[in-house]
């Protein structure tokens, strides 16, 4: 018997994400007001920050499922953990690229090595890149166990990156969300929230798509092994 629920879930999430992304792009470019200081370049903010936040949440999902794997030894939980970390890593690379483009336009330089937010973000990125190096260097059950432990340990770097810009005094990277609220107009905040929802949708869609592919891959390998044993 096959499970069609995951396919239906993927279709619903995919369609909702496509609609949200289209609405977000329309709102960002045609409805949201232009920033008084930065002008149109500020439009990068909507997806740059959304991708950064969802990327960090993806690392949290990876750590949570890593803990759950260690408690239950269910391979499906390792799948969720590793896929979430993969998506988080891809999002982080996009954050660095879009951030660099924004930096060049507003600060006149592609990168500032003295800024704690930028440097700690790259450290997080490299730590999670090492996750896949570790994963590919170990086989069998050990791979899943080491990956789960590493996903939990690497997550310690995420709050470091998040709070670095709030703790450090000398920085060029702005802080938009503080304990006092968001440093932007309500019209901008609404479209930021729409783009954040769209980015969450992209994350969920990719996660489900990858999970279905892994399931199919595993089933196919099982049949292949059985047939080879019969031959």
């Amino acid at each position: 018997m096959t499970d069609t629920r995951s396919t239906r879930r993927l279709a619903i999430t995919g369609v909702l994400t496509a609609i949200l992304t289209a609405v977000a792009c329309f709102g960002i470019f045609f409805v949201a007001p232009e920033d008084a200081d930065q002008g149109i370049i500020q439009k990068i903010f909507y997806f740059h920050v959304s991708i950064a936040l969802v990327g960090l949440v993806a690392f949290a999902v990876g750590a949570i499922y890593g803990i759950r794997y260690l408690r239950t030894r269910d391979a499906h939980l390792d799948d969720v953990s590793s896929i979430a970390i993969g998506i988080g890593l891809a999002f982080s690379v996009l954050v660095v690229i879009t951030g660099s483009i924004w930096a060049k336009a507003s600060w006149g330089t592609w990168w500032v090595w003295t800024d704690p937010r930028l440097v700690t973000f790259v450290i997080v990125l490299l730590l999670y890149a090492a996750y896949f190096v570790l994963r590919s260097s170990v086989e069998g059950e050990l791979r899943l166990r080491y990956s789960a432990i590493y996903s939990i340990a690497a997550f310690a770097s995420v709050p470091l990156s998040f709070y670095s810009v709030r703790v450090a005094r000398s920085f060029v990277h702005p802080v938009v969300f503080t304990t006092g609220g968001a440093n932007m107009s309500d019209a901008m905040l609404v479209w930021f929230l729409v783009s954040l929802a769209a980015t969450v949708g992209v994350f969920l869609t990719i996660l489900q798509l990858e999970l279905i592919q892994r399931r199919a891959d595993r089933a196919m390998r099982r049949v292949k092994m059985r047939l080879e044993a019969m031959a």
């Binding site: 990068i44 690229i97 483009i101 031959a231």
Partner: protein, 64 residues
Amino acid sequence: MTNEYVAAAYGVIIFALLMYVVVVGLKAARMAREAELLALLVERAAGDASEPETADAPGPASIT
């Protein structure tokens, strides 16, 4: 000039999404190839299993 930077930033995101679609497409193609191989192996296994039967008794094809 800033318009180009905004276009570049959004272009990078669209490019990444398109690249992901290509990767998913390649994975789907690999899975289709494997499914074809498995179908071939199943057909062969079914053929091997029916061969001894055809020597003594009529096979499924002749029954239908």
